[in-house]
Amino acid sequence: MRYTRRHFLQTLGGAGVGLALSSFGFAASEKPEDLHDTWPDRQETWSISICQQCPGGCGIRVRQVGGRPVKIEGNPDHPVNQGRLCPKGQSALHALYDPDRIRTPLLRTGKRGAGAWKPLGWDEALGMLRQRLAGLQAQGEPHRLAILGGQYRGFMDPLWRRFAHAYGTPNYIRLNCLQTDQAMLAHVLSQGAQAPLSFDLRHARLILSFGCNLLETWQSPVHVARAYADTVSAAGGRTARLVQVDPRFSPTAAKADQWVPIEPGRDGALALGLAYVLIRENLYDDQFVRNFTFGFHDWVDDHGVRQRGYRSVVLDTYEPSHVAEITGVPVETIIQLAREFGARKPALAIGSRGVSQYSNDNLSRLAVHSLNALVGNIGQKGGVLGQNVLPFTPWPSFELDGAARRGVAMPRVDGAGQGRYLLSTDAFQALPQNLKADKPYSIDTLLIYGTNPLLSHPSGAGFSGVLDHVGFVVSFSPYYDETAMMADLVLPDHTPLERWLDDPLTQLAGFSAFSIAPPVVSPLFETRSTGDVVLRLAAMLGGVPALALPWKSYEDLLRFSARGLFEAGFGHVISIPEREGFRQLLRQRGYWRRELATFDDFWKALVSRGAWWDAEENYGALAMVLHTPSRRYEFYSQTLRRQVEEEARKLAEREKGLDVGAAVKRLAGELHLGQNEQLFYLPHYEEPSFRGEDRSYPLHFGSYKLMSRYGGRTGNQPWLQEHPAAFIESDWDPWVEINPVTARRLNIQDGEWVWVESSKGRLRAKARLYPGTRPNMVNMATGAGHTAMGRWAQGVGANPNEVILPGSDVVRGFGTLGETRVRIVKL
């Protein structure tokens, strides 16, 4: 039996509370294929999947009626979120049912950006791209293909990487501002971390967060919220204290037990001030420092040169009254925090905030992390942990041919891994400049996947002109975002619920996991999973790419790789809590039992339950987290020293009249390590470099991410647009947070429209008088101000990148976002 939709809702719906007499209006602009005005049967089914609205990695269950997804809930058996979801997750069906999606492959017909397209069939579109790529190969110039990737985890990354390599280009460049799949540089330099380290929030008794928005957008928001809730014991007392250091009174600061307001860009100084008190008052863990660290005391290196240690640098420089002057944090607070940090064990300091804000960020993070080493909270319960590597089946090896070998040996167009970007794996920031100057060579074809730099990058608008220097731009975006609008060819991806999804998780404490999900619905339009497209392209190219990527589909690739999990001899497919509890008991007694006898059974269970996991607690496993040259925690980073000196030697060879010593100094300057040679490789404090003079631009400009948005990808989701934040009066319009006292001085009323101006540009926003704003600052949320993307996104909100002057971010190669000064002007 079939019902019309209206009939259906009126007769079956309502469930007693009320019946609708509504008539649906159909917008005139809609295409006939949208008019699915009948309901299929009323069968209710549930399928598992993974939320893709942010990199949090939450497991979801999709409720379907008659095969049609109608609601998303958290997957109660998933270790990340245990059945809960954040507002973005609850809005995720808007991504599937976005009426402004791209529906077929498109070829540009008008000017770039004009939005004139011709729909293509897939065979034609892929044929076009194949021809272009084969042509480049034939000319012996495969390196002139560049692939730009965004924020994603899982096998799409190695797939692209392998494709690029086999094809013969070194230019697989990821726009990495968050790097949830890579170790943080401070952890690499101090611990030699090879994979992301995790923070055991659940078991720490004091969490000292330096500007990390733990309860909003940090790493995995729902996971952290669960951990936060767990610290409130049933009796009502809190088992852990959360201290938030932040210039802005964010929701996280509001929910913390203590908020420590600080001058922007001064986190490192405060951390070293705490270190001073910890050392002076003997509150640090002497045994850990003695047995497991390097560079605490002054020492003599291989060349017989006396090097300063952490201890003497800290005691000489970071006396609390001096630190109070730099940071604006009172001396008493510094002492109180340090004493508490020394006394409440385990105490955890977190400085990995995400996007770089200040040019001294890496030094700040080293300084913050050194506190964990001082109290010996590394590899311990409640501390900084390493997780087990996921035991995937390795991919078959392959040999490059001569042309590809020459191609991959070419320097990268972004210059990552050398000079100023010595410490970055990817330097998107250098791209606009290099592309414009054809440096070191011109790019013929640019593939853009999973990122929208025209909106999200601080030099975004500048980037759009640069695309004209590229022969052919291909976008894989499912939406008409700003970058897709500039493409020559669009090969639209499925939205998440239409494709295979995979997500390896090793960055959260207490477990490593692999989430996986088959498509929940068949594709609504003529789109294709980019994973399948890359594999198809490799097959069409033949030769090395086809040998390197032998799988017919992304599903095949996942199935191949997941076999390793089955064979590993540890871990399980997730299950209901009761069964998990029993397994836990067994494990504690040293038993592991195979649940599923064959790989086929294993695979079936995996894709229907949603994840495999290994709940091993790696407490006390110091060997797992210390991979430095000294096999110890390095206050003095020998890794950094080696890298800098090696690069300096290369530099000196290239440049006449430059000796290695001078080259080291120059490099250190570019890497924001300061000018004092004795401090280069130790945590220390350097001034941030704010841009715009104080007189004309008296206010610091801060930007932050909202819980309701992740970058721009959720831009065309109207519920989220309507409810961006709960801590402030807000709706679709952009707002800038101003301290009421500052506003009074400027004669600005709450809700009034104002200009925010920097020396780069200006934007319009509503003034919101918010006492949580530091008087010498204003703050704005990022992720809005689309100029394309769809009816609910375009022209709504304002993009802070309009005013941000991105400083050079030598760590992420993304740009520092917090060093711009602005002024507020009445309209």
């Binding site: 209006g25 049609r68 919220a225 929701p251 307001p261 819980m707 709706d731 679709w732 008087p775």
Partner: protein, 231 residues
Amino acid sequence: MPRWAMVIDIDKCTGCQACVLACKAENNIPAVSREESARGRSISWMRILHEVEGEYPDVRLRFIPRPCMHCDNPPCTKVCPVMATYKDRDGIVAQIYPRCIGCRFCMAACPYTVKYFNWHTYEMPNLQQRMHNPDVSVRTKGVVEKCTFCHHRLQRAHDEARRQGRPLEAGSYTTACSQTCPTGAIRFGDLDDRDSEVARLAKSPRAFRLLAELGTQPKVIYLTERDRHAT
């Protein structure tokens, strides 16, 4: 008969708005346009109210999730001229949309401002209409709507129990907001069941009801914040 109630721990609420969005998705609540939103017409059965106090750096911020209170003594039902809003046999304050004449007396009578008026029939693109929950009716221009404690879920639980020939069990249903709440700040259950979590929490010294002095007898109970700033 169970007395369905909600306990909301203000201490645990981080103001993330997962409940707000879960409610919209569950109950077919449209996004009104940007213009309508600017006129204060957005519809949000669950809403997070916030309070900010003090001056930098001594600032406090508090989040108060606010659904319908489902008062045992509701002022709104008494003023409805057409019996479109009433307390049903489950103790839930319900709206019958086809009866509503849009006079908005109930909106004026509700001291908690939980009722919303449909100024228009909000049109969704057809593609988006596919995500409508078939268990919940859509509303049209001129009617008042509000939180139903996800009454349709209760209906389904009743149906299920009947089908299996057993009485309705404790914990057999929960609201969309409480199901998704990341910190578990929103709890739902039967207040008359002495063993239930909500009954236990309702006896907490931190428990209070909004505007209890009005005698509305709300079935949404709040737990106050702890003093988190003392060391």
